[in-house]
Protein backbone atom coordinates (compact mmCIF):
# COMPACT_ATOMS: atom_id res chain seq x y z
CA UNK A 1 0.00 0.00 0.00
CA UNK A 2 1.20 3.44 -0.92
CA UNK A 3 2.77 5.30 1.88
CA UNK A 4 4.49 8.68 2.05
CA UNK A 5 6.93 9.31 4.80
CA UNK A 6 9.31 11.97 5.94
CA UNK A 7 12.10 10.36 7.85
CA UNK A 8 14.22 12.32 10.24
CA UNK A 9 14.01 15.49 8.26
CA UNK A 10 16.15 18.42 9.31
CA UNK A 11 16.34 21.73 7.54
CA UNK A 12 18.59 24.60 8.44
CA UNK A 13 18.57 28.06 6.91
CA UNK A 14 21.79 29.87 7.55
CA UNK A 15 21.94 29.02 11.20
CA UNK A 16 18.21 28.83 11.72
CA UNK A 17 16.99 25.35 12.41
CA UNK A 18 13.60 25.26 10.75
CA UNK A 19 13.13 21.50 11.20
CA UNK A 20 14.99 19.07 13.35
CA UNK A 21 14.57 15.34 12.92
CA UNK A 22 10.93 15.37 12.00
CA UNK A 23 9.33 12.11 11.10
CA UNK A 24 5.88 11.93 9.62
CA UNK A 25 3.76 9.33 7.88
CA UNK A 26 0.90 9.86 5.54
CA UNK A 27 -1.32 7.02 4.44
CA UNK A 28 -4.01 6.82 1.78
CA UNK A 29 -7.49 7.51 3.00
CA UNK A 30 -6.23 9.09 6.18
CA UNK A 31 -6.38 12.70 7.18
CA UNK A 32 -3.37 13.92 9.12
CA UNK A 33 -3.18 17.31 10.72
CA UNK A 34 -0.08 19.42 11.13
CA UNK A 35 -0.38 22.23 13.62
CA UNK A 36 1.96 24.38 15.59
CA UNK A 37 2.87 27.96 16.29
CA UNK A 38 3.89 30.40 13.62
CA UNK A 39 7.29 29.64 12.27
CA UNK A 40 7.21 26.11 13.63
CA UNK A 41 8.26 24.72 10.28
CA UNK A 42 5.00 23.40 8.92
CA UNK A 43 5.26 24.96 5.50
CA UNK A 44 8.89 24.04 5.36
CA UNK A 45 7.98 20.41 5.93
CA UNK A 46 5.49 20.50 3.09
CA UNK A 47 8.14 22.09 0.93
CA UNK A 48 10.48 19.24 1.73
CA UNK A 49 7.83 16.65 0.98
CA UNK A 50 7.12 18.16 -2.42
CA UNK A 51 10.65 18.79 -3.60
CA UNK A 52 10.70 22.56 -3.14
CA UNK A 53 13.21 22.37 -0.35
CA UNK A 54 16.21 20.10 -0.01
CA UNK A 55 16.44 18.76 3.52
CA UNK A 56 19.78 19.20 5.21
CA UNK A 57 19.34 15.74 6.65
CA UNK A 58 16.89 12.92 6.34
CA UNK A 59 14.87 11.66 3.43
CA UNK A 60 11.42 11.59 1.97
CA UNK A 61 10.22 8.19 0.89
CA UNK A 62 7.34 7.01 -1.21
CA UNK A 63 6.70 3.33 -0.60
CA UNK A 64 10.19 3.12 0.75
CA UNK A 65 11.79 4.67 -2.31
CA UNK A 66 13.58 7.97 -1.69
CA UNK A 67 12.29 11.13 -3.39
CA UNK A 68 14.72 13.50 -1.87
CA UNK A 69 16.54 14.52 -5.02
CA UNK A 70 13.57 14.92 -7.26
CA UNK A 71 12.38 18.23 -8.63
CA UNK A 72 8.92 19.49 -7.71
CA UNK A 73 7.36 18.48 -11.01
CA UNK A 74 8.76 15.00 -10.73
CA UNK A 75 7.39 14.63 -7.22
CA UNK A 76 4.00 15.76 -8.45
CA UNK A 77 4.06 13.21 -11.21
CA UNK A 78 4.53 10.52 -8.60
CA UNK A 79 1.18 11.51 -7.14
CA UNK A 80 2.07 13.93 -4.37
CA UNK A 81 0.10 17.15 -4.75
CA UNK A 82 -0.01 20.29 -2.67
CA UNK A 83 -1.61 23.66 -2.28
CA UNK A 84 0.08 26.83 -1.14
CA UNK A 85 -0.35 29.16 1.76
CA UNK A 86 -1.07 31.95 -0.72
CA UNK A 87 -3.45 30.90 -3.48
CA UNK A 88 -0.99 30.86 -6.39
CA UNK A 89 -3.57 30.28 -9.05
CA UNK A 90 -2.66 30.91 -12.65
CA UNK A 91 -4.33 34.28 -12.56
CA UNK A 92 -4.51 34.90 -16.28
CA UNK A 93 -6.02 31.54 -17.07
CA UNK A 94 -9.63 30.50 -16.70
CA UNK A 95 -10.48 28.30 -13.73
CA UNK A 96 -10.98 25.26 -15.92
CA UNK A 97 -7.59 25.83 -17.52
CA UNK A 98 -6.00 26.03 -14.10
CA UNK A 99 -7.05 22.46 -13.59
CA UNK A 100 -6.24 21.45 -17.12
CA UNK A 101 -2.65 22.58 -16.67
CA UNK A 102 -2.10 19.97 -14.02
CA UNK A 103 -3.63 17.31 -16.22
CA UNK A 104 -1.31 18.32 -19.02
CA UNK A 105 1.61 18.51 -16.64
CA UNK A 106 0.92 14.94 -15.68
CA UNK A 107 1.02 13.89 -19.29
CA UNK A 108 -2.64 13.75 -20.23
CA UNK A 109 -3.81 14.93 -23.62
CA UNK A 110 -5.63 18.23 -23.51
CA UNK A 111 -8.82 16.41 -24.33
CA UNK A 112 -8.48 14.08 -21.39
CA UNK A 113 -7.38 16.91 -19.16
CA UNK A 114 -10.43 19.03 -20.00
CA UNK A 115 -12.67 16.09 -19.36
CA UNK A 116 -11.18 15.42 -15.99
CA UNK A 117 -11.07 19.10 -15.08
CA UNK A 118 -14.77 19.44 -15.76
CA UNK A 119 -15.57 16.38 -13.76
CA UNK A 120 -13.39 17.62 -10.94
CA UNK A 121 -15.01 21.06 -10.77
CA UNK A 122 -18.33 19.35 -10.73
CA UNK A 123 -17.26 17.01 -7.98
CA UNK A 124 -16.05 19.89 -5.84
CA UNK A 125 -19.20 21.78 -6.63
CA UNK A 126 -17.79 24.78 -8.42
CA UNK A 127 -18.58 24.06 -12.05
CA UNK A 128 -20.15 27.47 -12.26
CA UNK A 129 -16.72 29.03 -11.87
CA UNK A 130 -15.18 27.12 -14.78
CA UNK A 131 -15.15 30.01 -17.21
CA UNK A 132 -14.06 32.76 -14.80
CA UNK A 133 -10.57 34.13 -14.93
CA UNK A 134 -8.84 32.85 -11.84
CA UNK A 135 -7.46 36.28 -11.01
CA UNK A 136 -10.87 37.73 -10.22
CA UNK A 137 -12.04 35.11 -7.76
CA UNK A 138 -12.78 35.89 -4.13
CA UNK A 139 -10.62 34.26 -1.52
CA UNK A 140 -12.64 31.18 -0.66
CA UNK A 141 -13.25 30.21 -4.23
CA UNK A 142 -9.59 30.61 -4.90
CA UNK A 143 -8.91 28.01 -2.23
CA UNK A 144 -11.32 25.56 -3.69
CA UNK A 145 -9.95 25.97 -7.17
CA UNK A 146 -6.47 25.38 -5.78
CA UNK A 147 -7.65 22.15 -4.20
CA UNK A 148 -9.32 21.10 -7.42
CA UNK A 149 -6.11 21.81 -9.30
CA UNK A 150 -4.15 19.68 -6.88
CA UNK A 151 -6.62 16.83 -7.22
CA UNK A 152 -6.18 16.49 -10.96
CA UNK A 153 -4.87 13.11 -11.95
CA UNK A 154 -6.12 11.94 -8.59
CA UNK A 155 -2.91 12.03 -6.63
CA UNK A 156 -2.29 9.52 -3.90
CA UNK A 157 -1.44 12.31 -1.48
CA UNK A 158 -2.49 15.88 -1.10
CA UNK A 159 -0.89 18.37 1.24
CA UNK A 160 -3.00 21.41 2.12
CA UNK A 161 -1.31 24.48 3.57
CA UNK A 162 -3.84 26.51 5.57
CA UNK A 163 -6.76 25.95 3.23
CA UNK A 164 -9.29 27.51 5.62
CA UNK A 165 -7.42 30.71 6.43
CA UNK A 166 -9.78 33.64 6.16
CA UNK A 167 -12.86 31.50 5.92
CA UNK A 168 -15.99 32.00 7.94
CA UNK A 169 -17.28 29.21 10.13
CA UNK A 170 -19.75 28.13 7.51
CA UNK A 171 -17.15 28.05 4.78
CA UNK A 172 -14.77 26.16 7.01
CA UNK A 173 -17.45 23.57 7.60
CA UNK A 174 -17.95 23.20 3.88
CA UNK A 175 -14.24 22.82 3.45
CA UNK A 176 -14.09 20.13 6.10
CA UNK A 177 -16.62 18.03 4.34
CA UNK A 178 -14.75 18.46 1.08
CA UNK A 179 -11.55 17.27 2.70
CA UNK A 180 -13.36 14.29 4.12
CA UNK A 181 -14.68 13.38 0.74
CA UNK A 182 -11.20 13.65 -0.69
CA UNK A 183 -9.94 11.11 1.77
CA UNK A 184 -12.95 8.83 1.60
CA UNK A 185 -14.06 8.97 -2.02
CA UNK A 186 -10.72 9.52 -3.70
CA UNK A 187 -8.73 7.47 -1.25
CA UNK A 188 -6.22 10.26 -0.94
CA UNK A 189 -3.82 10.58 1.93
CA UNK A 190 -4.35 14.11 3.22
CA UNK A 191 -2.04 16.29 5.24
CA UNK A 192 -3.63 19.51 6.40
CA UNK A 193 -1.97 22.49 8.01
CA UNK A 194 -4.40 24.75 9.79
CA UNK A 195 -4.56 27.26 12.57
CA UNK A 196 -8.28 26.72 12.88
CA UNK A 197 -7.93 24.23 15.70
CA UNK A 198 -11.57 23.32 15.75
CA UNK A 199 -11.42 22.30 12.17
CA UNK A 200 -8.29 20.24 12.61
CA UNK A 201 -9.53 18.50 15.71
CA UNK A 202 -12.80 17.70 14.08
CA UNK A 203 -11.35 16.47 10.85
CA UNK A 204 -8.14 14.59 11.39
CA UNK A 205 -7.45 11.00 12.20
CA UNK A 206 -4.03 11.84 13.43
CA UNK A 207 -2.37 15.09 14.41
CA UNK A 208 1.25 16.11 14.64
CA UNK A 209 2.22 19.21 16.56
CA UNK A 210 5.40 21.03 15.63
CA UNK A 211 7.13 23.68 17.64
CA UNK A 212 10.39 25.32 16.72
CA UNK A 213 11.04 22.67 14.16
CA UNK A 214 10.53 19.67 16.39
CA UNK A 215 7.57 17.37 16.95
CA UNK A 216 6.31 18.08 20.44
CA UNK A 217 3.21 15.95 20.40
CA UNK A 218 1.49 13.47 18.20
CA UNK A 219 -1.73 11.53 18.46
CA UNK A 220 -5.47 11.47 18.00
CA UNK A 221 -7.51 14.65 18.31
CA UNK A 222 -8.60 13.75 21.78
CA UNK A 223 -5.03 13.24 22.91
CA UNK A 224 -3.96 16.50 21.38
CA UNK A 225 -6.83 18.39 22.93
CA UNK A 226 -5.82 17.17 26.32
CA UNK A 227 -2.13 17.82 25.93
CA UNK A 228 -0.94 20.50 28.26
CA UNK A 229 2.15 21.03 26.13
CA UNK A 230 0.11 21.82 23.06
CA UNK A 231 -2.25 24.05 24.93
CA UNK A 232 0.69 25.98 26.26
CA UNK A 233 2.64 26.30 23.06
CA UNK A 234 -0.14 26.93 20.68
CA UNK A 235 -3.72 27.26 21.62
CA UNK A 236 -5.27 30.36 22.98
CA UNK A 237 -8.86 31.12 23.55
CA UNK A 238 -9.56 29.69 20.14
CA UNK A 239 -9.20 26.21 21.52
CA UNK A 240 -12.31 26.79 23.58
CA UNK A 241 -14.38 28.88 21.25
CA UNK A 242 -13.71 26.78 18.24
CA UNK A 243 -14.85 23.58 19.81
CA UNK A 244 -18.49 23.91 18.92
CA UNK A 245 -17.61 23.99 15.26
CA UNK A 246 -15.65 20.83 15.68
CA UNK A 247 -18.53 19.18 17.43
CA UNK A 248 -20.83 20.04 14.58
CA UNK A 249 -18.52 18.24 12.25
CA UNK A 250 -18.04 15.18 14.32
Amino acid sequence: MAHLSADNISVAFAGLKALSSVTLDIRPGQISGLIGPNGAGKTTLVNVLTGFQMPTEGSVNLDGKPLTNLKPHQVRRLGIARTFQGGRLFRDLAVIDNLEVTGVGLGMSRRAAVAEAEAMLDWIGISALGGRAAGTLPYTDERRVAIGRALMGRPAFILLDEPAAGMSAQEATDLSSLVKRIARDLGCGVLIIEHNVGLVLGLCDHIVVLDSGAVIEEGTPTEIRQSEKVRHAYMGTAADTALPVAEVLL
Binding site: F13, G36, P37, N38, G39, A40, K42, T43, T44, Q85, G86, G125, I126, A128, L129, T136, P138, Y139, T140, D141, E162, A165, G166, M167, S168, A169, Q170, E171, D174, H195, V197, A233, Y234, M235, G236, T237, A238, A239, T241, A242
Partner: protein
Amino acid sequence: MSLLVLANIEVRYGRLTAVRGVSLSIKDGDTVFITGPNGAGKSSLLRAIAGVTPASNGTIDFDGYNITGKAPEDIARLGFSMVPEGRDVFGSLTIEENLMVGTGMKAKDRGWKAKRAEDLEAVYQTFPILKERRHGQAGLLSGGQQQMLVIGRALMTNPRLIAIDEPSLGLAPNITDQVYERLIALQSLRALTLLIVEQSSTRANLVGGRMLLMRGGQIVLDGDARELGNSAAVQAAYFGYEDH
Protein backbone atom coordinates in the same frame (compact mmCIF):
# COMPACT_ATOMS: atom_id res chain seq x y z
CA MET B 1 -16.99 63.00 18.01
CA SER B 2 -16.85 61.10 14.77
CA LEU B 3 -13.40 60.26 13.57
CA LEU B 4 -14.39 58.63 10.33
CA VAL B 5 -17.53 59.40 8.38
CA LEU B 6 -18.46 57.60 5.19
CA ALA B 7 -21.34 58.81 3.11
CA ASN B 8 -22.76 56.67 0.38
CA ILE B 9 -19.51 54.95 -0.63
CA GLU B 10 -19.47 52.95 -3.81
CA VAL B 11 -16.60 50.90 -5.20
CA ARG B 12 -16.54 49.48 -8.68
CA TYR B 13 -14.23 47.15 -10.56
CA GLY B 14 -15.19 47.56 -14.15
CA ARG B 15 -18.76 46.40 -14.38
CA LEU B 16 -18.78 44.80 -10.95
CA THR B 17 -19.89 46.91 -8.02
CA ALA B 18 -18.21 45.60 -4.88
CA VAL B 19 -19.48 48.20 -2.42
CA ARG B 20 -22.85 49.83 -2.91
CA GLY B 21 -23.77 52.91 -0.98
CA VAL B 22 -22.20 52.36 2.41
CA SER B 23 -22.69 55.13 4.95
CA LEU B 24 -21.08 54.88 8.30
CA SER B 25 -19.77 56.96 11.14
CA ILE B 26 -17.14 55.78 13.58
CA LYS B 27 -16.44 57.55 16.84
CA ASP B 28 -13.02 58.25 18.21
CA GLY B 29 -11.86 55.33 20.33
CA ASP B 30 -14.45 52.90 19.01
CA THR B 31 -13.88 49.25 18.26
CA VAL B 32 -15.67 48.29 15.08
CA PHE B 33 -15.78 44.84 13.58
CA ILE B 34 -16.85 44.28 10.04
CA THR B 35 -17.82 40.73 9.27
CA GLY B 36 -19.54 39.13 6.43
CA PRO B 37 -19.20 36.34 3.97
CA ASN B 38 -16.68 35.97 1.26
CA GLY B 39 -16.84 38.61 -1.42
CA ALA B 40 -19.06 40.87 0.63
CA GLY B 41 -16.90 43.88 -0.16
CA LYS B 42 -15.20 44.28 3.20
CA SER B 43 -11.69 44.57 1.83
CA SER B 44 -12.87 46.81 -0.95
CA LEU B 45 -14.40 49.16 1.58
CA LEU B 46 -11.18 49.39 3.56
CA ARG B 47 -9.14 49.95 0.45
CA ALA B 48 -11.47 52.72 -0.57
CA ILE B 49 -11.02 54.51 2.74
CA ALA B 50 -7.26 54.12 2.53
CA GLY B 51 -7.34 55.64 -0.93
CA VAL B 52 -5.79 52.66 -2.72
CA THR B 53 -8.88 51.75 -4.70
CA PRO B 54 -10.59 55.13 -4.84
CA ALA B 55 -14.31 55.06 -4.30
CA SER B 56 -16.24 55.83 -7.43
CA ASN B 57 -18.91 57.60 -5.48
CA GLY B 58 -19.52 59.09 -2.05
CA THR B 59 -17.48 61.11 0.41
CA ILE B 60 -15.11 60.19 3.20
CA ASP B 61 -14.18 62.43 6.12
CA PHE B 62 -11.40 61.59 8.48
CA ASP B 63 -10.68 63.63 11.57
CA GLY B 64 -12.66 66.48 10.11
CA TYR B 65 -10.86 66.52 6.77
CA ASN B 66 -12.47 65.50 3.56
CA ILE B 67 -10.18 62.76 2.28
CA THR B 68 -12.25 61.67 -0.70
CA GLY B 69 -9.93 61.08 -3.62
CA LYS B 70 -6.83 61.94 -1.62
CA ALA B 71 -3.63 60.02 -2.17
CA PRO B 72 -3.01 57.08 0.18
CA GLU B 73 0.12 58.70 1.61
CA ASP B 74 -1.79 61.83 2.57
CA ILE B 75 -4.49 59.79 4.23
CA ALA B 76 -1.88 57.78 6.09
CA ARG B 77 -0.27 60.98 7.25
CA LEU B 78 -3.52 62.04 8.89
CA GLY B 79 -3.29 59.00 11.13
CA PHE B 80 -5.11 56.32 9.19
CA SER B 81 -3.12 53.12 9.18
CA MET B 82 -4.16 50.15 7.17
CA VAL B 83 -3.09 46.53 7.22
CA PRO B 84 -4.30 45.08 3.96
CA GLU B 85 -5.38 41.54 3.36
CA GLY B 86 -2.53 39.28 2.38
CA ARG B 87 0.90 39.99 3.67
CA ASP B 88 2.46 42.98 2.04
CA VAL B 89 5.82 42.85 3.75
CA PHE B 90 8.78 44.47 2.04
CA GLY B 91 10.46 41.16 1.48
CA SER B 92 13.92 42.44 0.70
CA LEU B 93 14.11 44.72 3.72
CA THR B 94 15.03 43.50 7.15
CA ILE B 95 12.37 43.13 9.75
CA GLU B 96 13.49 46.19 11.59
CA GLU B 97 13.62 48.21 8.41
CA ASN B 98 10.08 47.12 7.68
CA LEU B 99 9.00 48.41 11.03
CA MET B 100 10.75 51.72 10.41
CA VAL B 101 9.34 52.40 6.97
CA GLY B 102 6.24 54.19 8.14
CA THR B 103 7.81 56.25 10.86
CA GLY B 104 9.20 58.98 8.65
CA MET B 105 6.14 61.13 8.59
CA LYS B 106 6.54 62.06 12.22
CA ALA B 107 10.10 63.15 11.77
CA LYS B 108 9.08 66.74 12.33
CA ASP B 109 7.81 66.16 15.84
CA ARG B 110 10.05 66.74 18.75
CA GLY B 111 11.56 63.76 20.45
CA TRP B 112 10.25 61.47 17.79
CA LYS B 113 13.29 59.28 17.88
CA ALA B 114 12.78 58.38 21.50
CA LYS B 115 9.13 57.79 20.82
CA ARG B 116 9.99 55.58 17.92
CA ALA B 117 12.35 53.49 19.99
CA GLU B 118 9.61 53.10 22.55
CA ASP B 119 7.11 51.99 19.93
CA LEU B 120 9.62 49.56 18.55
CA GLU B 121 10.21 48.02 21.93
CA ALA B 122 6.47 47.68 22.41
CA VAL B 123 6.08 45.84 19.11
CA TYR B 124 8.98 43.58 19.98
CA GLN B 125 7.35 42.82 23.28
CA THR B 126 4.15 41.73 21.63
CA PHE B 127 5.99 39.68 19.02
CA PRO B 128 9.29 38.49 20.47
CA ILE B 129 10.07 36.50 17.35
CA LEU B 130 10.39 39.75 15.42
CA LYS B 131 13.01 40.98 17.81
CA GLU B 132 14.88 37.74 17.56
CA ARG B 133 14.96 38.06 13.78
CA ARG B 134 15.19 41.84 13.60
CA HIS B 135 18.09 41.87 11.15
CA GLY B 136 16.77 38.97 9.13
CA GLN B 137 15.14 39.38 5.77
CA ALA B 138 11.41 39.84 6.06
CA GLY B 139 10.56 37.84 2.97
CA LEU B 140 11.87 34.66 4.52
CA LEU B 141 9.55 34.77 7.50
CA SER B 142 6.80 32.21 7.76
CA GLY B 143 3.28 33.21 6.85
CA GLY B 144 2.21 33.95 10.38
CA GLN B 145 5.40 35.79 11.22
CA GLN B 146 4.81 38.07 8.27
CA GLN B 147 1.35 38.77 9.53
CA MET B 148 2.81 39.80 12.88
CA LEU B 149 5.21 42.03 11.09
CA VAL B 150 2.60 43.93 9.12
CA ILE B 151 0.49 44.49 12.21
CA GLY B 152 3.54 45.68 14.10
CA ARG B 153 4.49 47.92 11.23
CA ALA B 154 1.10 49.57 11.19
CA LEU B 155 1.31 50.16 14.93
CA MET B 156 4.69 51.82 14.50
CA THR B 157 3.12 54.65 12.54
CA ASN B 158 1.32 55.64 15.73
CA PRO B 159 -2.08 55.94 14.08
CA ARG B 160 -5.34 57.47 15.24
CA LEU B 161 -7.20 54.68 13.57
CA ILE B 162 -5.91 51.31 12.60
CA ALA B 163 -7.80 49.29 10.03
CA ILE B 164 -6.86 45.64 9.87
CA ASP B 165 -8.11 43.28 7.22
CA GLU B 166 -8.34 39.87 8.84
CA PRO B 167 -5.75 40.13 11.58
CA SER B 168 -5.98 36.48 12.49
CA LEU B 169 -5.15 35.30 8.99
CA GLY B 170 -2.46 32.65 9.35
CA LEU B 171 -1.84 33.40 13.00
CA ALA B 172 -1.67 30.71 15.62
CA PRO B 173 -4.56 31.02 18.06
CA ASN B 174 -2.47 32.16 20.98
CA ILE B 175 -0.82 34.84 18.85
CA THR B 176 -4.20 36.05 17.70
CA ASP B 177 -5.07 36.46 21.34
CA GLN B 178 -1.95 38.51 21.88
CA VAL B 179 -2.72 40.73 18.95
CA TYR B 180 -6.10 41.55 20.35
CA GLU B 181 -4.76 42.06 23.82
CA ARG B 182 -2.26 44.53 22.45
CA LEU B 183 -4.84 46.39 20.40
CA ILE B 184 -7.18 46.68 23.33
CA ALA B 185 -4.35 47.85 25.56
CA LEU B 186 -3.40 50.53 23.07
CA GLN B 187 -6.98 51.57 22.78
CA SER B 188 -7.25 52.31 26.48
CA LEU B 189 -3.76 53.83 26.47
CA ARG B 190 -4.30 56.41 23.77
CA ALA B 191 -7.79 56.16 22.38
CA LEU B 192 -6.81 54.17 19.32
CA THR B 193 -9.75 53.53 17.08
CA LEU B 194 -10.03 49.99 15.73
CA LEU B 195 -11.63 48.97 12.48
CA ILE B 196 -11.28 45.26 12.05
CA VAL B 197 -12.45 42.96 9.33
CA GLU B 198 -12.97 39.39 10.45
CA GLN B 199 -14.68 36.66 8.53
CA SER B 200 -16.28 35.15 11.56
CA SER B 201 -18.15 36.87 14.33
CA THR B 202 -16.60 34.68 17.04
CA ARG B 203 -13.82 37.11 17.82
CA ALA B 204 -16.20 40.07 17.89
CA ASN B 205 -18.36 38.25 20.38
CA LEU B 206 -15.35 37.72 22.54
CA VAL B 207 -13.87 41.21 22.35
CA GLY B 208 -17.01 43.23 22.18
CA GLY B 209 -17.60 46.56 20.47
CA ARG B 210 -19.66 47.46 17.48
CA MET B 211 -20.30 44.93 14.79
CA LEU B 212 -21.27 45.54 11.20
CA LEU B 213 -22.29 42.77 8.92
CA MET B 214 -21.74 43.25 5.22
CA ARG B 215 -23.29 41.33 2.43
CA GLY B 216 -23.44 42.04 -1.26
CA GLY B 217 -21.59 45.30 -0.83
CA GLN B 218 -23.96 46.71 1.76
CA ILE B 219 -24.13 46.89 5.50
CA VAL B 220 -27.02 44.69 6.46
CA LEU B 221 -26.62 44.65 10.22
CA ASP B 222 -25.20 47.14 12.68
CA GLY B 223 -25.22 46.55 16.40
CA ASP B 224 -23.39 45.63 19.55
CA ALA B 225 -21.15 42.66 18.96
CA ARG B 226 -21.93 40.84 22.17
CA GLU B 227 -25.65 41.47 21.89
CA LEU B 228 -25.81 40.29 18.33
CA GLY B 229 -23.72 37.30 19.24
CA ASN B 230 -24.87 34.28 17.34
CA SER B 231 -28.30 35.74 17.00
CA ALA B 232 -30.71 34.64 14.41
CA ALA B 233 -30.10 37.82 12.49
CA VAL B 234 -26.43 37.05 12.09
CA GLN B 235 -27.17 33.51 11.12
CA ALA B 236 -29.63 34.74 8.58
CA ALA B 237 -27.08 37.07 7.15
CA TYR B 238 -24.64 34.27 6.69
CA PHE B 239 -27.03 31.70 5.47
CA GLY B 240 -28.76 34.18 3.26
CA TYR B 241 -25.52 34.15 1.36
CA GLU B 242 -25.99 31.60 -1.31
CA ASP B 243 -22.69 29.89 -1.62
CA HIS B 244 -22.47 29.11 -5.29
